[in-house]
Structure formats: C-alpha cells, structure tokens
C-alpha cells in the first residue's frame, strides 16, 4: 500500500518546470503585443487618436493611482459586483434546490426560466435605473440577473445528479430527509456551484460595469463612459486595463479558494 503524497511529488516536479515556462511565454506574448502596438502608432501606421498608445495608457493608469481617483471608482465597482454575486447566488441556489427536489415544479417553470434567461441584460438596464435609481442598487440588480442563472442551473444540476448509491447508502446508515439534504445533496450541489464560481464572478463584474456605463456617477464603467464621451481613447483603454488587471487578480484568488474547497476531489 502506498499513500498518494509520494506519487504526487513525482508528478509535481515536471509540472512546476512547465509552470515556469508558461509564465515566461505569457509575459513574452504581452510584451510583443504592446511593443507592436507602440511601434505601429509611432510609425504613424495607426492613428493614436483612435487607438491611443501603451505608454500613454500606462501613464494615465499611473496618474490615477498616484492621485487616488482610481480607488473610489474601483471600490464602488467591486462592491456592486460582490453584492450582485451574493444576492444572485442566494436566489439561484435556493431556487435550484427547490426545483432540483421537485420534478413537477421544475417542469412547470421550465419555459419561464428559459424565457427570462434569453432576455438580453442590456435592455433591462434602463428599467433598473428607473426602479432602483442611479446608485449602486441598479448595478447590483443587473449583476444579479446574470449571476442568478449560472448559479441556478448549476445547483439544479448538482441536486439532480446526486449519486443514487450515495443517497441509498446514507439512507441505510439512518439519515432523515433533512440529514440527506445536508450530508449528500448540499455537498453534491456545492461541487457544481464552486466550479461555476469563476464564471459567476466574471458575470457579476460585467453586470456592474455595464450598469455603470449606462448610467452612474461613480465606478469603472462610469470612468470609461466619461472618457468615451470626450473621445478620450487613452482614458477608455486605461479603464479597460484596470478592469482586466482586477479580473486576473480576483480570478487567481478564486482559483485558490476553489482548490481548497474541493480539496477532496481527485486531480
């Protein structure tokens, strides 16, 4: 009998070497693209008025950071995203559970859920502005409409897909209906929910930024829309750059969280 850790070490060594090479290539790709962009603009092949240039964009981001104007907008966007994620998850998971346990209700509501999910979220934004005002809640609502469906479908699937043998085993071991939900159905659904955390978080941020873009007084979406209003392409790209960096950082954090929560899973 060998325990697994010794096997893992054998696999981990080449994987670590691979990870270094991947990182080097990732940086190389970024540098090449930025250098090409910068060069094409310098040679006047591309017009800086339309596409700005990397050096200007970096300067703009640096100025935002130094002057501190960036942090307030970023905080608002993150707050809206997080609230959207929490509310959307709570609603989606609850409904996913109810419909996962009741095949009848699931069939009755199926066409309505499909219909609502097909609505393009951008057309909802003006309605939400009307209902919830210019503040953060209209953006939270938009994020919720995106997160809700991801969470709902994953929870539903997770509850439905719970292994029959696991359920029978736990029932034979003496589980009541409530214990069955707690020890089998919830963990089974959580596997699906955690796996969709990455997608949900991305959607929450898209919802928040689109909401800000269409009508707000603060937030990254607002910054980008202001810049567009004055044909300030540097400002637009700077806003997009900040957004991109934030997404990469947050998603790295989510990946670590996910790995910890699903640590029982075989690789």
């Amino acid at each position: 009998m060998t325990s697994r850790p010794s096997d893992d070490r054998a696999v981990a060594a080449p994987a670590a070497a691979g990870r270094g090479a991947v990182l080097a290539w990732q940086i190389a790709v970024g540098v090449v693209v930025l250098a090409a962009w910068q060069t094409l603009v310098s040679l006047k092949i591309l017009d800086a008025f339309f596409v700005s240039r990397p050096s200007d964009i970096l300067q703009r981001v640096a100025r935002w950071v130094v002057s501190g104007t960036l942090w307030g907008h970023l905080a608002v966007t993150l707050e809206e995203s997080l609230l959207g994620l929490l509310v959307g998850a709570a609603l989606g998971i609850s409904l996913g559970f109810v419909l996962g346990r009741s095949a009848f209700l699931a069939q009755v509501l199926d066409p309505y859920i499909k219909m609502l999910n097909a609505v393009p979220r951008v057309v909802l934004a003006p309605l939400f502005l009307l209902w919830f005002g210019l503040g953060i809640w209209s953006k939270v609502a938009l994020a919720v409409t995106l997160v809700f469906f991801v969470m709902f479908f994953n929870t539903f699937q997770g509850v439905r897909d719970a292994d029959r043998v696991l359920i029978d085993n736990v029932r034979m071991l003496g589980a009541t209906e409530r214990q069955l939900v707690r020890h089998v159905l919830v963990p089974s659904a959580l596997t699906w929910i955690f796996s969709s955390l990455q997608t949900s978080l991305g959607f929450a941020m898209v919802g928040a930024v689109v909401g800000e873009y269409l009508g707000a007084t603060r937030g990254l979406g607002y910054v980008i829309s202001q810049a567009e209003g004055t044909f300030d392409t540097t400002g637009v790209f700077a806003g997009m750059t900040v957004l991109g960096i934030v997404v990469v950082i947050v998603s790295a954090a989510v990946t670590r969280l996910e790995r910890w929560l699903l640590r029982w899973k075989p690789e």
Partner: protein
C-alpha cells in the same frame, strides 16, 4: 432458532420502457436464521441485487412479505446495514467522517463518534489514513472503509451486494478473510452477550459463496428468478481461506453445487444470446 430475515413468496415486477411488465423475481421464499452467514448465488442479471434491495427496504416487493425478526418490514430495514457493489463512500468526507457517519446521523456526539470511528479504522488496518479522502485510497482500502462504516453500527443484519467484485484476486481474498475475521470475532463475543451478526452476501462467484457462507442459496436465471436449491456448507470454522479451496471437502461441495448452478448459467447465456 429465531429468524433474522424472512422472505415469503416475494415477487417483483418492473415496467419496461415499452409498457410491458418485466418480472424480475418470482415467489422467492427464504429464511435466514439469526447469526447465520447466507450467500445468494445466481447468474448475472438474475435479480440478486433486487432481492437485496427488497430485504433492505429500499424497494417494496410487488407481492409477498418481508419479515425482520418476525415483524413485517415497513419502510427501510433499520436493523440492517447495506454494503454496496459500487463505491458508496461520500467523496467529500474524510475516512474518519465517513466511518463515523452512521453514528453522527443517529445523534451521537461528534467527539464520541470520531473516537469510535478511529478504533474501527485501526481495526480494518487503516490507522494513519483517517484524514485521507476516499479518492486518495486504493480500491481495497475504500472497501475497508465501507466495511468499517457498516460494522460500526450496532445492527444485527449485514447485507452485502457483491462487495468485492471490483477488486483484483489477491486483494479480494484478503478482504474475504478480513470479513470472516470480523464476523467470527462477534462469535467470540457471545459470552458478553453480543450476538453474531446475520450476513446475507450476494455474489456471482460460487467459490466465494462456499468459502464464506453457512448456507448457499442458488437462484435461477432471470427473468422470473426463483430459488433453485439451497446447500448447507458443513465446513469447520474458523476457516483458513488460503488453504480451504484445495481441501477435498470444499472441492466435493463445489462440484455438487456447481452442477446445479451450471444449468442456470447456461440458460442465462442462452437467454442473453
């Protein structure tokens, strides 16, 4: 001697997708004395698992009656544990939490349940693996955990559905020996008034059935499987499974029972072809 489990003319039908009725079991009667080790053997597809599910109360019979310790069975069989053919451990719980699960579900305090679980983990030879997850264990080790998960509960009947069929031959023989050791250890406890458990062990392997059981029940090929024969295995206990299979008494018994089972296997193969 009292009867731990009785099936009285139990039949079971299923509706097939095309609307016809498929009869899996046909008037099966079976009486298992308390403390006996009974093996049920039959060709694959004869409804052995269906029979066990009915005994467990997971599936109601279409007709006939199930009695547990003389009482008619309603709902799940609370005096039995069930070891499944497939992996049935919760993958998100550690070995310790899996073994302790039955006790926790029954309302035992967590600390007490875990202490008992640790003792059982050691007993099935997995000391040091209590914090591992099932996916980190080999197939044989997972079966040991499943055994501990079942045997930790104080229930008189143990139902086992081809529990070792997925294992390689050597691991399988080891697990069989350990199962007998566990069961016979209960026998030694008689003085302390802990009666031996009743085991109903389903398998398609006649050798395994004879090696382990007091009685071997042969089911006919499906559909409409019935009991064809019942043989008593008069081999001494404790048995040494590594030596047993070459002993003349074992070989004679095997030949006799195989003559009956062979007919059913041929029928099932003809039916499948």
């Amino acid at each position: 001697m009292s009867r731990a489990l009785e099936l009285d003319r139990v039949s079971r039908e299923f509706a097939s997708p095309d609307g016809r009725v498929y009869r899996a079991l046909e008037e099966i009667s079976l009486s298992v004395p308390s403390g006996a080790f009974v093996a049920i053997v039959g060709p694959s597809g004869c409804g052995k698992s269906t029979l066990l599910n009915i005994a467990a109360g997971l599936l109601p019979p279409s007709s006939g009656a199930v009695r547990v310790a003389g009482e008619p069975l309603a709902g799940l069989n609370r005096q039995a544990t069930y070891m499944f053919q497939q992996d049935a451990l919760l993958p998100w719980k550690t070995v310790r939490d899996n073994v302790a699960l039955g006790l926790v579900l029954g309302g035992a305090p967590r600390g007490e349940a875990q202490a008992k679980a640790d003792a059982w983990i050691a007993r099935v030879g997995l000391a040091g693996f209590a914090s591992h997850y099932p996916a980190q264990l080999s197939g044989g080790m997972r079966k040991r955990v499943a055994m501990a998960q079942n045997w930790i509960l104080d229930r008189g009947i143990v139902l086992m559905d081809e529990p070792f069929s997925a294992l390689d031959v050597h691991t399988r023989q080891r697990m069989e020996s350990e199962l007998l050791a566990l069961w016979e250890a209960r026998q030694a406890d008689v003085a302390r008034e802990a009666p031996r458990k009743t085991v109903v062990f389903v398998t398609h392997d006649l050798e395994e059935a004879i090696a382990l059981a007091d009685d071997v029940v042969i089911l006919s090929a499906g559909p409409a499987a019935r009991v064809v024969a019942q043989h008593h295995v008069a081999l001494e206990r404790p048995r040494d499974l590594l030596e047993l299979r070459t002993q003349p008494a074992f070989v004679d018994l095997y030949r006799g029972v195989w003559a009956v089972l062979r007919e059913e296997v041929i029928k099932s193969q003809r039916g499948a072809a």
